[in-house]
């Protein structure tokens, strides 16, 4: 029996409480247990330098990772949750919202912003798992919907970084309909030929997987992220057997054809830029041949 037991995994410090780290503070990787200085870990895009374990990070870190010089304009910051169903379980839904806001300093489980990635204008929506499990209610649906609209109006590419347990139960059917709403908006974006990259991180499940997260022109996943529709616990209970190793992980999804490629977070910005650059170069001039042209070719 060990003397100490790690009860909670991962970074527990709130984003706004993070301070410039003096040397001597350590991050111990929960996967390989190797300690690293926090600075080294942060400079390594919150990836363990030893074993490449990708620590869960929030919208703040992703914005810093993708936007040039961490410069961006946030969209629709002021949309906050209402309580349409007057939902009460062990405590009222509004109390949960207040508690989540206090804990995270966020307004809801997604932030959307526009900025530049390697010089190209881009809209990014990044989900925050720390806010009620990254669950999608009306606010998440609306903000993602508007981010899609923004990308369409400005004719710029869109990246949605998913990290969510699924639909938010406390908004019941309203949450469910956000799946239809975001998917419908993506259909419109698609009709304009604007690229959408779905960037899947650990974990992405439920209603988010069954809507925008699986609708990318490119579905890109961080290594070893849990991605699925039904949660592993539910499936285990249903089939009454242990799940195979690696089930519902990024590599499994790529193997089964649902993820285009897996990307190391440290290379994500360059990889995604490379993709978008190729698309941006596509402008192809077409010439319609007339019968006269055909005749000319035949004669020569």
């Amino acid at each position: 029996m060990s003397w100490f037991k790690r009860v909670k995994e991962g970074i527990l410090t709130k984003t706004q409480d993070k301070k410039p780290t003096p040397d001597g503070l350590w991050y111990k990787c929960p996967s390989c247990k190797t300690p690293h200085s926090t600075r080294e870990f942060t400079e390594n895009s919150w990836v363990c330098p030893e074993c490449s374990f990708h620590e869960k990070v929030s919208s703040d870190e992703y914005f810093e990772l993708f936007f040039d010089e961490n410069k961006f304009t946030e969209l629709d910051e002021n949309i906050v949750s209402a309580d349409p169903l007057k939902f009460v379980d062990s405590k009222p839904y509004p109390d949960r919202i207040v508690a989540a806001k206090k804990k995270t300093g966020l307004n809801d489980a997604v932030r959307t912003a526009v900025g530049k990635m390697n010089g190209t204008k881009i809209v990014i929506a990044a989900m925050d798992f720390s806010f009620i499990g990254g669950s999608m209610g009306s606010v998440v649906g609306e903000k993602i919907g508007r981010a899609i609209d923004h990308a369409r109006e400005q004719q710029v590419p869109l990246i949605i970084i998913s990290k969510s347990g699924g639909a938010r139960m406390m908004e019941a059917a309203f949450s469910l309909m956000q799946m239809a709403k975001t998917s419908a908006k993506l259909a419109l974006l698609g009709q304009e030929g604007i690229p959408f990259i779905s960037y899947l991180t650990n974990p992405t499940t439920g209603g988010v997987t069954a809507s925008f997260a699986m609708l990318g022109d490119f579905n890109v996943a961080e290594p070893d992220a849990l991605i699925g529709f039904a949660g592993p616990r539910v499936i285990k209970e249903t089939i009454g057997k242990d799940l195979p190793k690696g089930f519902q992980r990024s590599e499994f999804l790529q193997e089964h054809g649902f993820v285009d490629f897996i990307v190391d977070r440290r290379e994500a910005k360059e990889q995604l830029s490379k993709l978008l650059t190729v698309i941006a170069k596509k402008k192809r001039k077409t010439v319609k041949k007339t019968p006269a042209d055909n005749a000319a070719t035949a004669n020569s």
């Binding site: 606010v139 059917a173 309909m177 419908a184 209603g207 195979p244």
Partner: protein, 320 residues
């Protein structure tokens, strides 16, 4: 006849009625007065019981083993039905059925979840829980309908999409997501009717349309009351409470602007008088088709996207 727990008073009266009829048949005593009184009493008891059902009671009615299923509606409402099988990729999902038919001469593509009536049949239909190929079959049929300019009718009745190893391997999430996207821009009218259970993404996967309608005793939500109870209260015991909290009845859904219409059921639920149910259903479908068919295609799609875009309740605080 199978009685639900809250139908106990009806069950007792029915037993009395059966006894009275038997005595009458034997011819010794004239029971006709008692019989007609009992019949009246059953009618009024049923009426008062069903006037004000709780959320959980409606969930029970929606799952009544004698309730009409998709195939029953297809048989009763349509002519010239040809069932179309398979997703042209993996296989034929038995939990979703569909095909081409006519309703009073109007061609339709009608499809929906299908449950089974007995143990064997239930397993065959996977309890109405589709795998990805079910959603992909549904989409294939809807695309066919679009090609031939035929309106689509979907009947929703599922406890959820199948949670299993194979479903995940074959991309349950992707299959549903794709349907949501494609249905939102399909260029023919789509009518979606919740005839029983409307659980979560498994229901919505064939539930994006121009008119969303619910039968009086059906339910529609993001999760079943039992599962909601398990997650929020950590036990099944709070399912009644969860059913109330989720606001999953047709009345709630109409109040919240998430559906367009409620179709009345016969007193005691659709299974008590299926013929009346089919008749009402047919009238409603014809009325909805009449409304939707003249709308120009692009306008129809624009209206549909607007409809779903407007769903959601939030507060927008003034910027500081």
């Amino acid at each position: 006849m199978i009685y639900l727990d809250f139908e106990k008073p009806i069950e007792e009266l029915m037993e009395q009625l059966d006894k009275a009829r038997e005595t009458h048949k034997k011819g010794k005593v004239d029971m006709s007065d008692t019989i007609s009184q009992l019949e009246k009493k059953i009618e009024s008891t049923r009426r008062s019981l069903y006037k004000d059902l709780s959320g959980w009671q409606k969930v029970q009615v929606s799952r009544h083993p004698d309730r009409p299923y998709t195939n029953d509606y297809i048989k009763a409402l349509t002519k010239n039905f040809t069932e179309l099988h398979g997703d042209r990729n993996v296989g034929d999902d038995k939990a979703i059925v569909g095909g081409l038919a006519t309703i009073d001469g109007q061609p339709v593509m009608i499809l929906g979840h299908q449950k089974g009536r007995n143990t064997k049949d239930r397993q065959y239909r996977n309890f109405g829980m589709p795998n990805p190929e079910g959603y992909r079959k549904a989409l294939r049929l809807m695309k066919l309908a679009e090609k031939f300019d035929i309106p689509v009718i979907t009947l929703i009745d599922t406890p959820g999409a199948s949670p299993g190893l194979e479903a995940e391997e074959r991309g349950q999430g992707e299959a549903i997501a794709k349907n949501l996207l494609e249905m939102s821009v399909l260029k023919v009218p789509i009518i979606c009717i919740v005839i029983g259970e409307g659980a979560s993404g498994g229901a919505l996967g064939i539930g994006v349309g121009d008119r969303i309608v619910m039968l009086e005793n059906s339910w529609y939500s993001v999760i079943s009351p039992e599962n909601c109870s398990t997650i929020l209260w950590r036990s099944w015991e709070h399912k009644e409470q969860a059913a109330e909290a989720l606001k999953l009845t047709a009345d709630n859904m109409l109040e919240n602007g998430l559906i367009d219409k409620i179709i009345k059921e016969p007193v005691g639920g659709a299974h008590c008088d299926p013929d009346t149910m089919y008749k009402t259903m047919k009238t409603e479908i014809k009325r909805l088709l009449k409304e939707l068919l003249p709308i120009e295609k692009d306008e129809l799609v624009a209206q549909r996207i607007d409809k779903f875009s407007n769903m959601g309740v939030y507060t927008e605080e003034a910027a500081e």
